[in-house]
Symmetry: C3
Subunit: 411 residues, 3 copies
């Protein structure tokens, strides 16, 4: 199955193209002084800056007050409330028969994939992004070429081999908000495998833009599941299992720099990495039950180990959202840095680490992980089995669709 | 053995009858707007409000300063320093020979059980509760009838089957301060078994009044142990083992709303539940060594897992008392809410949870618990074996009596 | 091999002799009112007080800001930046040929061991401690005699059998800053074995002076390794294994009062003890990778259990330093007390604990530890195997020497 064909592509204000541009520029011009994370943030256009996830702007107090109310569903796609609705509302308007309107929405809405062609989402009643669509078109082509010229032939991630370490940045084109579909996962796995084999002492994992990773690419998964529930639920569970296993097996330290929201699988893989530094603006949420899914990424084992069952279950069952500081207090994050100096602080530490004896680094990680590995592999296996079961069942499908329906209704 | 016959009943300001009244009223009149927890607190009489446990009123700083002094024994029966002493002092006064005065106290003090008859504790030199004893008598009968009319035929707990969940509230009549004797435990087990079998998606556990649960019903246990140490220590350990096992085995999520002090077994079962929300006024203590007992409720396994050995041992060996905020910081509690909105905050979240796909809830809990279950069962087994051994030994008996003697001497 | 012969002894402002004096005085005069910890701090001379480790004086904010820069190597010997350099710089000055100057430094620098004779470090270009060296000489002899008069025939520790517990204080003469070489370790093991066999209900572990324990005695180990790498790396790993195993096997509660910096093995053994109370001035660091070593003391198992992998790895791989409050927040420390009342707070609690039923204490510890013991033994075994491998390799040796070279170069 080709992603380009099936991809329910809804454009968001934060254009991945622009981010990539920034990275390219940066790679050519100033490899030492600037950093892609910082750069990615700098290139965010003014109108995007005003569309930041609401939660990230609230202090812990305000956040707590807010959490008393409804499921925090809108935070799943924090940057793109407008466009998503546009497409969905269209579907509802076109169809309007009441039976599975979302599916029609998926079929009816004019969607596009950046890799293939540019199609308008003008079917939507609100015109959100049209003006922004036309103008960067030729630029896009130009950078696409420049991209293939470079050594890193990835579409959804940027990989930079640096002195002593490999820097992997999520910067997805085939999904919104760095969310994970099998294509993105495979690229990350491939980059990790390369870093495992070369002379990198460690891997730094981060993301371009203001979002770290929004978990599973829901649009992608729903689309597939409605095609052939049994077969696709197996394939999806398999993809997640392999992705998570790559992290479990990885022998060199993985350091994560969480630049923004980490949701679902984007949050649950963090404990499979070794050190987690977070931007003060980052937040963490695993609202699995809200969209009718069971936990993934070994979170059912690692979250209770890290923060105790009371907090782990509040996140896994009740979908509690943690600010960066809260996540640090609970042990999910090693340390929180201010946005202004985040990249700098991370880079200083990374370079220090990368100057260590690589045998010491690898042996130390092996000592820490050795009697967790089997437990994690089993947990991953179990979690994926349950996911397969839930996704493969009519009831599981229903609650996922109900969730999306609620989301549509909210607009 | 009948509880009514053996029960060393010492009345406390917080009348369980009044609380029960509140619950009944609430069930008949305003099932949506009010909640039994809130209600229970509202109906606390003014003079009770002034007898709150000292610790709960102190800020963390003041609390820390205070903890430097003596064993925090008085906090064991935080609401009833007066009445308990009344009965005990009576025993001492009557006997006064120096040999095991507490046992005489148990025998000599005029005690009563609400279920059977009302006897004065007027033999005590201080008249604490006399005025409060006489007046509610006929009311009690009336509500007793109303209670049997309802569907929930429990004496020490209130069970409310609600939309999607079962609400179990401790409201003990056969013990003080919601402390646990075999009768109370059996009722909780029975209610949990019912909730396991019906269509409840989860269980909410809380308590009527301003105390959550004061652990084992010490008066009850001491009385039995002095009768026949060998046999009764076995029976008691068995009762605790079954009670704790019910929590370990329970498949649906158990959410706890800790409204006030949680002591001993009342605190150690919390990690066997899934989410723990606490009122800011709640506090947590497991002063096992102080009264010559070893830890129970799988706390020897779960406390170190949750908060690390240093904090766990400080609680289990040194009896450190934690405020709600401290318990939250250490991971024993998921989140702390202000007293004024506690019930409201809990209820919003419970209803959200109860709207989830029950398969997802149960599978998620199973995933989190699966590789802990055997470890917990074994821990429970070991802990109960040690309790049996200590309770069954002359030395263990002695240190328990010494503790009670010290407590009596303190007045 | 005799320690006195090999010992690279560099005197530090905090004179162990003075501390010992304090302890002796205290033992003879006021066993109830004063405590060696408090005493040790009181007897610190004014000029020493101004030479406190820099980190301890910084607030968490200032500390964080500082951590962004270079490896925090100087904190390894926090109290003696001057003298250490004096000796090393001397070596460099004498040799100056560029090939392995540190080794020459080790050979060339005039060093001394308190037990044998008093030699000046006056070869150093800066005169740091000369004035302080001459005057306490005869006092030293006097107290040395008094020390042998007492029941506790240890050189590097002070052991005080008290009512219900044994108090072991690190006060090393054969190493700086209470750092651990095989001689010190053997004395601690011997004292623990005595306490295990006598009627002590528990052990209190602390240190004389303002430092708790600076981990492995680096000077000692480097010296040996350069003699015969293969044989000595095996011997050293063996010594550490036995030392750590003594803690794992110890059946009675071990309470630690951390009076000052706890570094490397001095920090990693803390989770093998039961309760850890810390002076507000204490800090914690395990900068293993910085000096080319892998973690020890079961820290690869216990640190992740206590604080989660993110924080554990930040300490173990990235060498993050924790203030006492941070260590408490992460669960490494049970509670933090103000310097002024630290000893008093600890002693009140110790006496309370020592009044408990010893069977309850030992059974409670056994319950908490029982299913960790084997895991810890295996972790200890693994860690020591890796240490042996790293120390025994040319590369491992190199990175240790590079670390020391960097340290020398920094001055």
């Amino acid at each position: 199955m080709d992603l380009a064909k099936s991809g329910i592509k809804i454009l968001v204000p934060k254009s991945p193209i622009k981010s990539r541009t920034a990275v390219d520029t940066f790679q050519n011009e100033s490899p030492e002084k600037l950093d892609p994370i910082e750069q990615g943030q700098d290139t965010v256009t003014p109108e995007v800056a005003t569309e930041k996830p609401v939660g990230a702007l609230l202090g812990p107090g305000a956040e707590r007050a807010r959490m008393g109310s409804r499921p925090r569903i809108h935070s799943l796609v924090p940057q793109a409330p407008g466009p998503v609705t546009a497409a969905m509302a269209t579907g509802l308007a076109v169809n309007g028969k009441g039976t599975s309107p979302f599916m029609d929405a998926l079929t009816a809405s004019g969607t596009t994939n950046i890799q293939t062609s540019v199609t308008g989402v003008t079917a939507g009643k609100r015109k959100f992004i049209d003006d922004r669509r036309d103008q960067p078109f030729d630029k896009r082509l130009r950078f696409s070429v420049r991209q293939t010229e470079s050594a890193y032939r990835y579409r959804d991630i940027v990989v930079r081999k640096q002195d002593g370490f490999t820097h992997i940045l999520l910067s997805t084109k085939s999904s919104e908000n760095n969310s994970l579909n099998p294509e993105v996962m495979k690229e990350v796995q491939s980059a990790l495998n390369t870093a495992a084999a070369d002379d990198s002492k460690l891997v730094l994992l981060s993301a371009v833009g203001s979002v770290f990773c929004c978990g599973l690419d829901f649009i992608y998964f729903i689309r597939r599941l409605t095609d052939d529930r049994k077969r696709e639920s197996t394939k999806m569970a398999e993809a997640i299992r392999n992705f998570v296993n790559t992290f479990i097996q990885f022998k060199k330290p993985i350091i994560v720099a969480v630049n923004g929201p980490a949701i679902g699988l984007g949050a649950s893989i963090l404990p499979l990495c070794d050190v987690v530094w977070a931007n003060e603006k980052a937040w963490f949420q695993t609202p699995y039950t809200t969209f009718g899914q069971s936990p993934d990424g070994c979170s059912t084992v690692m979250f209770p180990k890290i923060m105790g069952g009371a907090s782990a279950n509040e996140m896994l069952l009740s979908g509690r959202k943690l600010t960066a500081q809260e996540a640090c207090g609970k042990g999910l994050v090693s340390q929180v840095f201010w946005p202004g100096t985040f990249t700098q602080e991370v880079m200083v530490r990374i370079k220090e680490l990368a100057s260590c004896n690589p045998v010491v680094l690898e042996e130390s990680k092996a000592l820490v992980r050795c009697n967790m590995k089997m437990e994690l592999e089993q947990a991953n296996e179990r979690e994926c089995e349950v996911l397969k079961k839930i996704w493969g069942s009519a009831q599981g499908m229903d609650s996922m669709l109900k969730y999306l329906q609620r989301k549509i209704d909210e607009f």
